[in-house]
Amino acid sequence: MALSRLTFSSNLLLIQNRLTSAALKYQKAAVPATTGLMVNTLSDDSSVISHLFSLRASSLRNEQFQRNITNVTSKIQFTDGQLAQSIDVLQRVREVTLRANDASNSSTALTQLNTQLGDLKTELMGYANAQLNNRYVFSGTATTTQPFTSSSGVVSFSSSANSTINSEYLSPTLTMAGNLDGNALFTGTSTTAASTALLTNCRNSNGVSLGIAAGNTITIAGSVGATAVSTTYTVTSTSTLADLASALQTALRAVADGDTTETATVTSGKIRVATDATNAITNLTLSISGNSTFNTAFTYSTTIAAGGNTADSNALKTAVDGEDIFDVIDDIVTAISAQSPTDIATHLARLDLGINQLSAARAKVGTRLQQLEAAGTFINQEDVRISQDLSNLQDAPMDKVLSDLVTRETALRMVYSSSQRILSAANMSLMNN
């Protein structure tokens, strides 16, 4: 727009506009110089806001994952410590057992050795009942329940405890268990995994394989009340303990006794049978032709009274996780008292299985610790990347900012100076001359 007339007011307007513009630009340049940040309000650069907050959220989340990694590491390291101590105890059990397996031992010596084994068993129980921050580490999620209890000298896994594994997030997609299944570690069974135990892996209460093979036909026989039961179940390579229990339950319910309430369920790694309130179950047997070990292990010679359950000692034991270590120690004591080298040898083999069982668990723990370390390293690297990205987005490059500030200040001074001259020139009107 060409200036055809320059009036006093238009002069002032121009000066005012230029001063305001220069002052605003100076003010805007001063903000990053004082805060050190290029983005101070949402409108400074709305295109980066979303990314900025996404990075901040990721940073806070990574802090949480680091805490999770630290927590899980602490738990697993503690657990590993208990396993190491337990393995040490079992090694000492082995040494005592070997000393006891000497025909020259007097009965007094054998008694003392058995006493040592009892003490070692108590020590082992202490590790199995270890607590971290007043929480039992081997009782699954029943953290206030002591997992292993002793009754008449028999140590068993509390029915109030469980094998549930608690996990924590190490990243948005990666979880890791913070605990181990105490039941599986110390008794060779798992309350959660028992039903999935393959029949071909099953062993008796002494840990001896039952010799079940795919293709075997298991004959189910017995009586429900006065009515006979007779059916068969064919074992496959994928047959589980639960499958056999289901077949048994079907057979019992198929009996025409007026009800279908008999049950056969897998509990604590064992098939447990219960009757209804009306009929007793007698002479219940599961047998495989030519397999005396299996036939002996799974004969319910005791009548299961109406409304009753099978006792643990009659139940089939799984081989999912290995040995009941406390049971092995008890059996060793019995074998030593009986001065039976054969039994001692059998139970030493079981003890070795138990040691391997705990060692395998330690190996898994070691793997987890490595994974945790790797996850921690990755999180740290992510943090560095996020910090860098955040810095690039929001931090003010101070050399440029200060340079810009000086430029704006100079421009503002020039505008002040030129405005002063213009105003002076405007005052040089005909009125004053």
């Binding site: 009036t7 006093f8 409108s43 806001i49 901040r56 929480r135 924590e168």
Partner: protein
């Protein structure tokens, strides 16, 4: 030989005319800083000559008219620019204020508190039966709720404050309309010289009104203005006028709606017909921008409540109870940000938090706590598309920043245009002191010459009178 009386008459006319012209120059100088003043110009013309002895002898000069130097087109452009600037500035001022409330670039805000809340569930998953960990979850939830409430209140208060602004603007428009009517009446009954001043005042009033609302003004044959605002609302009809009013709008949270009544007629709602100016800028923020922000905040709160409750009700707490709500349930997202609160099932009851997924996994089960913690990275179906809670909230912040930035740019641009047109208007209609000084010198010299002529013609008359002596 010309009449000596014609000389005298010419001289007298010159004295009067130049005096008038000096008066016009003086008027211009006096009003150099009067807002909206249009410089005046005295048009001089020779008076009709007298025929005497076959000769035409001039009878001097007169001021035929005093005109305003006024460009209708420039004034209209200035008015429109004022309207645009008023609207843009009003919107920017409001959004700049709201932007501050949403600014989470410091170390607090919904974004951080949401992260803290979900992280607290991670800590609970690590130690599910820890009472301090549970109290921490409740604490973090309370902080998040408070922040959401605070932002919701800020938005509501902003709408209420803008409501007050709108009422003030309506009152101002009515006052200006009354002033225009008064000026119309004066212009009708005043002399042409008085009308010049009243015209300037009236033009200035219309320009003032234009800041508040889009205005169209027509001058009718009798010199009065017809003023229309918005989409064809005749606010001033010569010496009569309509009236803008305000009333609560039951369909809009009882906020103000704008009504219009012509004379003593029935008032009708015209809010949507006011399409620019400060009033429109305020309405846009109140009924579009803030409503959007409020709606998004409500949706965020509602989804947090719904998703957390879905997991929590399926979980088991340390009392072995299930189906307990973490947040008080909501039927929809309406007012969710205002109403979000801890459920009575868990408020003040750390043991009532459901961290386990089954009664059998108590007290150390953490599956439910993990599931709630994982919600932070879970995609939710929002109205704007699938997004995480953080992503949705970040998009809202980005939207606020974008709107504020856009409004600022628009305000700066429209102000720049307004300044340019105002400067041009000054070039056309403004007073140049130097010009007026030159005019003063010019007319003063002519006045002096004319007074000399009066003296000479007086001498001639005296000579004639004393001829026979």
């Amino acid at each position: 030989m010309g009449s000596s009386l014609t000389i005298f008459e010419s001289a007298i006319s010159a004295l009067g005319t130049n005096s008038q012209a000096l008066s016009v120059a003086g008027q211009n100088i006096a009003n150099v800083n009067t807002p909206g003043y249009s410089r005046q110009h005295a048009t001089l013309a020779a008076r009709a000559p007298q025929t005497m002895g076959g000769l035409e002898l001039g009878l001097g000069v007169s001021v035929t008219q005093i005109t305003r130097i006024f460009d209708q087109y420039t004034e209209r452009r200035l008015r429109d620019a004022n309207t645009s600037s008023g609207g843009a500035s009003a919107r920017y001022n409001q959004l700049a204020s709201i932007e501050g409330a949403f600014n989470e670039l410091g170390n607090d805000g919904i974004s951080k508190y949401m992260t803290d809340f979900f992280n607290s569930w991670h800590d609970l998953a690590d130690d599910p039966d820890s009472i301090p960990a549970r109290q921490n979850v409740l604490g973090k939830a309370s902080v998040l709720i408070d922040r959401i409430h605070s932002l919701d209140t800020t938005i509501r208060n902003a709408r209420t404050n803008i409501d007050g602004n709108i009422k003030d603007v309506v009152a101002k428009i009515n006052t200006i309309a009354a002033d225009i009517v008064t000026l119309n009446e004066k212009i009708k009954t005043s002399s042409s010289e008085e009308a010049l001043t009243f015209n300037d005042q009236r033009t200035q009033k219309v320009k003032e009104m234009a800041q508040y609302v889009n205005v169209t003004a027509f001058e009718s044959a009798d010199g009065v203005y017809q003023v229309y605002i918005g989409e064809g609302l005749q606010l001033v009809n010569g010496t009569g006028r309509g009236t803008l009013g305000t009333a609560p709008d039951s369909t809009n949270s009882n906020l103000t709606k704008i009504t219009f009544a012509l004379g003593s007629g029935t008032a009708s709602t015209v809010t949507s017909r006011l399409t620019d100016g400060e009033i429109y800028g305020n309405l846009t923020v109140r009924d579009t921008d803030l409503v959007t922000y409020q709606s998004r905040l409500n949706e965020l709160a509602y989804q947090i409540v719904t998703k957390v409750n879905t997991v929590h009700t399926a979980g088991y707490n340390l009392n072995s109870a299930t189906s307990k709500y973490f947040f008080t349930t909501m039927a929809s997202s309406t007012d969710a940000a205002r109403d979000i609160t801890l459920s009575s099932d868990v408020s003040g009851l750390p043991k009532a938090l459901a961290a386990a997924d089954a009664a059998g996994s108590l007290p150390g089960g953490n599956v439910a706590a993990l599931a709630i913690a994982a919600l932070m990275d879970t995609t939710v179906a929002f109205t704007t598309g699938n997004n995480t809670f953080h992503g949705f909230h970040s998009d809202l912040l980005s939207r606020v920043g974008n709107d504020a930035e856009g409004a600022k740019n628009s305000a700066e641009f429209s102000q720049s245009v307004l300044d340019q047109i105002a400067a041009y208007r000054e070039q056309v209609s403004g007073v140049s002191v130097d010009e007026e000084q030159i005019n003063i010198v010019k007319y003063q010299a002519a006045f002096q010459a004319a007074s000399k002529l009066v003296a000479v013609s007086k001498e001639i008359l005296d000579t004639l009178v004393h001829l026979g002596e």
